[in-house]
């Protein structure tokens, strides 16, 4: 699907951006749009709640891209991506609380109801933002690595992987709901009053966060595009379409899958990191299996296997949700389920199919839907 791009690994990554984006005008225009939106927010200064909403949508879009990378390009449907999103979110929340405590001196609620006199040892260093960033991404990568290594080595595939990852996020939810786990239980963490020393909720901080989320989204999109247009991206598609054959050809599919899986987890954690300061709360609900399925729904609705599709899906579904949950609350679940069914039955490539009906079909040839699981023998392996 990436056409005549020079895929030679010798070309440095930066120089591959141009060709990679050139091969995918949809994505290129999305990136431009995202950057324009960031500029618009800075220049036009819309109402803070609108700015905030745009920022949240950008965080969701990053999350959707992270899932699309493993689902659309590797064929691994994770129903537990909320876990990595939550890791980013929780570490960010811990940083914000520790920071606010250090700056303002008011003890967070958490300390009060846990009966702590000071923050426990594992919070050490979290007042430092760079450390928190490294910790969030590193933790997500580490969890992903352990879980991925165990699963991919024993060749847990397809729906099995989906179910097990769902159970994983469910276990994490139960664990975080426990008060004794020490991260706020059901109440989670709130009351983030300062960010880098500035008062949270001031228009400047709101805009700054939204712009940061938009810029990160643009960066993630470009980076992911370069990746999937590279030889590694080729191997990813090959692995999705016929893993056994790729393995026979001598490639280590376990290493490939593990690498991309960890990368995806890191991107999801990044999304969580950007999401939490914008909504001002994190609680184990982000670990509920339903939210993780919803991420897959965004990707499916937008169009899986196309990075732009993930963004469009996440933005469209969430914007609709923000709007309808106030305007037509009764109708929202029905509209969502109708949308999913329509997409699954009628538009295997999501909303992008709608565009394809009218525009150059060549550039939007459906990504392969080869039913490998069925063709390769009886059950679903």
């Amino acid at each position: 699907m990436s056409g005549a791009v020079d895929l030679s690994p010798r070309v440095p990554a930066v120089r591959r951006i141009g060709p990679a984006l050139g091969s995918d005008p949809l994505l290129a225009s999305l990136v431009v749009l995202v950057l324009a939106a960031a500029l618009g927010l800075v220049l036009l200064q819309p109402a803070p709640y609108l700015v905030n909403m745009v920022g949240q949508l950008a965080a969701f879009a990053i999350l959707a891209v992270s899932l699309d990378l493993v689902w659309g390009y590797l064929g691994i449907l994770s129903l537990g991506h909320g876990l990595f999103f939550a890791i980013g979110g929780y570490v960010c929340a811990m940083h914000l609380l520790a920071h606010a405590y250090a700056v303002t001196g008011t003890a967070p609620d958490l300390m009060q109801f846990m009966g702590w006199k000071s923050l426990p040892a594992y919070w050490t260093g979290l007042t430092s933002a760079p450390y928190a960033l490294v910790l969030a991404l590193g933790l997500a990568a580490a969890v992903a690595f352990v879980f991925g290594l165990a699963s991919f080595r024993s060749r847990v595939n397809g729906v099995y992987f989906s179910i097990i990852s769902q159970a994983l996020v469910y276990v994490a939810m139960l664990l975080m709901f426990r008060n004794d786990t020490g991260l706020g239980g059901n109440n989670g963490m709130t009351g983030f009053s300062v960010l880098f020393g500035w008062p949270m909720g001031s228009p400047g901080v709101v805009t700054g966060l939204a712009v940061a989320a938009l810029l990160t989204l643009a960066g993630v999109l470009v980076g992911a595009k370069v990746l999937v247009a590279s030889p590694i991206g080729r191997r990813m598609l090959a692995c999705r379409d016929d893993e056994a054959r790729l393995r026979t050809l001598g490639y280590s599919t376990t290493r490939l899958k593990l690498g991309i899986w960890c990368l995806s987890a890191v991107i999801a954690a990044l999304a969580g990191l950007l999401y939490v300061p914008q909504v001002g709360i994190i609680n184990p609900r982000v670990l509920s299996p339903d939210l993780s399925i919803e991420i897959a729904v965004w990707v499916a609705i937008g169009g899986m296997g196309r990075l732009g599709g993930a963004v469009i899906g996440a933005v469209a579904v969430n914007a609709l949700k923000f709007w309808l949950s106030a305007a037509m609350p009764e109708a929202w679940p029905f509209i969502l389920s109708g949308l999913v069914l329509a997409v699954v039955l009628g538009l295997p490539n999501g909303l992008l199919d709608l565009a394809a009906l009218r525009l150059r079909p060549a550039s939007l040839k459906p990504t392969s839907l080869k039913p490998t699981w069925l063709r390769r023998g009886g059950g679903l392996r």
Binding site: S154, I163, A167, F177, R178, P289, G378
Partner: protein, 545 residues
């Protein structure tokens, strides 16, 4: 004897109340005065307590007619059929009736403006005991008298021994007389007569329970324990016996809890296992089929309530075919409309069933409402019976276990003994080969999907007496039942059964040690680890590939 043991189990549970409820020695031996007694029932807690304690204290000598009269007034107070106009108590036929009769005189009077007193907990216990005593002595039938005795047993310490003796001598039914004698015997733990005490210790230890253990242990501080070797050895032996029995009872309870949890898991997972094994479809709407089964059960109840109220108690049984067909019908419709198009894309069918579940939950919520449904619980699924020591068999759980066994049998018969089952097994093992042999695999898929959904509907029937029924009830089962299916190994009913039993009992065993939350976390984490090592689960179906 079994009778006695059972009921004594109940007593023992509550024997702590004994010491508190011991009536003080009252000087007043005057006959019961109806007016003041009725007025006291309308008084404050202290007045009620005083009057009822005095009544109990004198119940051994009072005339039967007086006791029957007081019993009726006490019963009315318990049932809130006592209206108080100032100090005058009126007996009503039913709560809130417009007219009643004066308790003391029997003259009819309008009850407007009357207040019906709410019993405090302490008074409630006392009034219950007193009305039980009245029923035991003056109940018209053996059943009524037996019910009275079973109330007395709960709070045996509050009943004067003389009263039990009087009741025993007045009793005409030999069985009830024997039970009464046994109760009286075990009530004599603190009797001054050493022989009767020993007999009481023996009697108490014959009905072992945690409370009996506490009662007996309390005797260790008795002076006789140090001075009387016979007493000491009898008490030690009794304590050892009770302790052993209690631990056996607790063991049984753990087994029973594990079994009942496992049977719920099995019912929720059985249909899923068949669907998943056959078609590879992750049916996230399975929980909603359970919900539909429960709502169908509710529908049957309402229909019976309108058309054949006499048969209302049988609605759980009548609902079995209805719930099965309702869920199976919805399942077949979903298969025909949606899933049929998605067999080549299992991950998309997963999302589609998620959308279906969202739709069903909200559809039911809009159509019926989000509140819990009201079920009339027939006697065969409410309450329980103490079986041994502290081990109580609750009927609703037993119902679920029986239901699970029946589901298992039905599933096995259909899979192993019918042409459809043969087709299902063939398609599960090798779809292409089965198709080549002329099996219409699509039709098999549809029927199997219907069957699997129907099984979930049956689970819905069994869950009605156990859990609250509302639109979101199905969501609680999804992760657990998938874990059962995957752990058991896809496509094997035996695997599903073993996995359900394993998960159920593991949960129950860990819960008392680390708490319910940790139990779930540990069990699920264990399964995830296990599946990482052995993705095909406990029992893998041999497939041709």
């Amino acid at each position: 004897m079994v009778e006695g043991v059972r009921r004594l189990g109940l007593v023992a549970l509550l024997a702590w109340g004994a010491s508190l409820m011991m009536p003080p020695a009252l000087a007043a031996d005057a006959p019961l005065e109806r007016g003041p007694f009725a007025a006291a029932l309308c008084g404050d807690g202290a007045a009620q307590t005083k009057a009822v304690e005095a009544f109990l204290h004198r119940a051994a000598e009072a005339e039967a007619a007086e006791i029957a009269w007081a019993g009726a007034a006490l019963r009315a107070l318990l049932d809130r059929r006592l209206a108080c106009l100032g100090e005058t108590a009126l007996l009503l036929d039913r709560t809130g009736a417009a007219e009643g009769v004066e308790a003391a005189t029997g003259t009819a009077r309008p009850a407007a403006g009357g207040r019906s007193p709410v019993l405090g907990l302490r008074q409630r216990a006392l009034v219950e005991t007193a009305s039980g005593a009245a029923a035991l002595l003056t109940g018209p039938s053996v059943e009524a008298r037996r019910a009275g005795l079973s109330i007395l047993e709960r709070r045996i310490g509050a009943v004067p021994e003389a009263f039990l003796l009087r009741a025993a001598s007045a009793e005409t039914d030999p069985g009830l007389r024997a039970s009464l004698a046994a109760v009286a015997q075990s009530a004599a733990l603190s009797s001054p007569d050493p022989a009767r005490r020993l007999a009481a210790i023996r009697a108490v230890s014959e009905a072992p329970s945690g409370a009996a253990f506490s009662r007996l242990s309390a005797l260790k501080t008795d002076a006789a324990y140090g001075s009387d070797p016979a007493f000491r050895s009898a008490l030690d032996a009794a304590l050892a016996r009770v302790e052993r029995a209690v631990s056996i009872g607790n063991g049984l309870a753990v087994l029973y809890n594990g079994l009942s949890f496992a049977s719920i898991l099995f019912m929720a997972a059985a249909g899923l296992a068949i669907i998943f094994g056959l078609m590879g479809v992750i049916n996230l709407a399975q929980g909603e089929f359970i919900m539909i089964g429960a709502y169908a059960t509710y529908g049957v109840q309402e229909v019976l309530r309108r058309l054949a109220p006499a048969w209302l108690d049988a609605y759980l049984l009548a609902a079995i075919p209805v719930a099965f067909l309702a869920s199976a019908g919805v399942g077949i419709a979903i298969e025909a409309l949606i899933l049929r198009h998605l067999y080549r894309r299992p991950l998309m069918s997963l999302l589609a069933t998620w959308a279906v579940s969202l739709f069903l939950i909200n559809g039911v919520r809009v159509a019926v409402g989000s509140q819990n449904l009201q079920f009339a619980m027939p006697s065969y699924v409410s309450g329980g019976v103490p079986l041994y020591a502290d081990f109580v068999v609750t009927w609703n759980r037993l119902f679920a276990i029986a239901f699970a066994v029946a589901t298992l049998a039905l599933t096995l018969v259909i899979l192993k003994r019918t042409p459809l089952g043969l087709d299902i097994r063939a398609v599960t093992q090798n779809r292409d080969m089965a198709a080549c042999l002329g099996i219409r695999t699509r039709r098999v898929d549809r029927l199997a999907f219907g069957f699997g959904s129907g099984l979930a509907g049956l689970a819905g029937v069994a869950l009605c007496p156990i859990y609250s029924v509302n639109p979101g009830m199905g969501a609680n089962f999804i992760v657990d039942s998938f874990m059962v299916v995957v752990l058991g190994g896809v496509g094997t009913v035996a695997g599903t059964l073993v996995a359900a039993l394993g998960i159920g009992s593991a949960n129950v065993l860990i819960e008392p040690l680390y708490g319910a939350v940790a139990a779930k976390v540990i069990v699920l984490a264990g399964i995830i680890l296990f599946l990482q090592r052995r993705p095909e689960g406990l029992f893998a179906v041999r497939r041709r590939r």
